[in-house]
Amino acid sequence: MSLFNIFDIAGSSLSAQSLRLNTTASNMANADTVSSTPQQAYRARQPVFAAVMNALGGDQQEADVAVKVLGIVESRAPVRSQYEPNNPLADARGYVYTSNVNPIEEMANMISASRSYQSNLEVINTSKQLMLRTLAMGQ
């Protein structure tokens, strides 16, 4: 029965969106961390989503399309250097390197992820109701 598949599909999206919320939380938490070299500086992380075709019996037309997280990429934006000679992490020239996290981008990302999570949860709730009503059919 195809209503069962909805739980798998929306569930895959829920886990993908919660991973996105997770990376956002990690980015926001590390927005102000500093390090002594540009290589060690924290870089913003983003998950990459892809559609997975779960073809039933090799039929691409009837495929369920779940979401898969292909991986997590680090932002290539340049890290900022700040002159803080009193910071214990400062290098020989007195500079520390901050993360390249853009808090505004992260906030927008967080709202988008939580909205997507909500809409998928709504799909699951509705499907659950439909299934329970189907079970009570003819009573």
Binding site: M1, S2, L3, N5, I6, I9, A10, S12, S13, A16, Q17, R20, V48, F49, A50, A51, Q61, E62, D64, V65, A66, V67, S112, A113, R115, S116, S119, N120, E122, V123, T126, S127, Q129, L130, R133, T134, M137, G138, Q139
Partner: protein
């Protein structure tokens, strides 16, 4: 007169199966609202229902078998076999995704209500049959 359960239930059994199929397709779209290059899909309910009822689908061209050796083009296809089509996006996004969450959500809700409608009709038919069987 023997009672044929299939004909007694009428169009509603097919409609219910198609509604649940459509709920699945729309859930696919909503799940992939943030996936780059994903194209939103849906199917034409009217022609799919006509096909499930054994009529030729509206506005469609089918291969005709003219000789005994020919194999039907849709051989082995299930009764609930809706042809998926891509939605025409009103606002395509830069990453190639054509899902409009609001439209899909509205369609999903509408579909859920129509599913419940079919379910109510079906329940009524089953109750009617049960009354006939029990005779009280």
């Amino acid at each position: 007169m023997p009672i044929n359960i299939d004909s007694a239930l009428g169009i509603h059994a097919d409609a219910l199966a198609l509604r649940s199929r459509r709920a699945e397709v729309l859930a696919n779209n909503l799940a992939n609202a943030d996936t780059p290059r994903y194209k939103a899909r849906d199917f034409d309910f009217k022609s799919a229902l006509a096909q499930a009822q054994g009529q030729s689908p509206i506005n469609s061209v089918r291969l005709v078998t003219t000789q005994s050796g020919h194999i039907a083009a849709n051989a082995g296809a299930s009764r609930i076999d809706a042809e998926l089509q891509y939605r025409i996006p009103s606002q395509p996004s830069l990453d190639g995704n054509t899902v409009d969450t609001q439209i899909e959500q509205a369609e999903f809700t509408q579909n859920a209500i129509q599913y419940q409608t079919s379910l109510t009709f079906l329940s009524g038919k089953i109750r009617g049959l049960l009354t006939a069987i029990r005779g009280d």
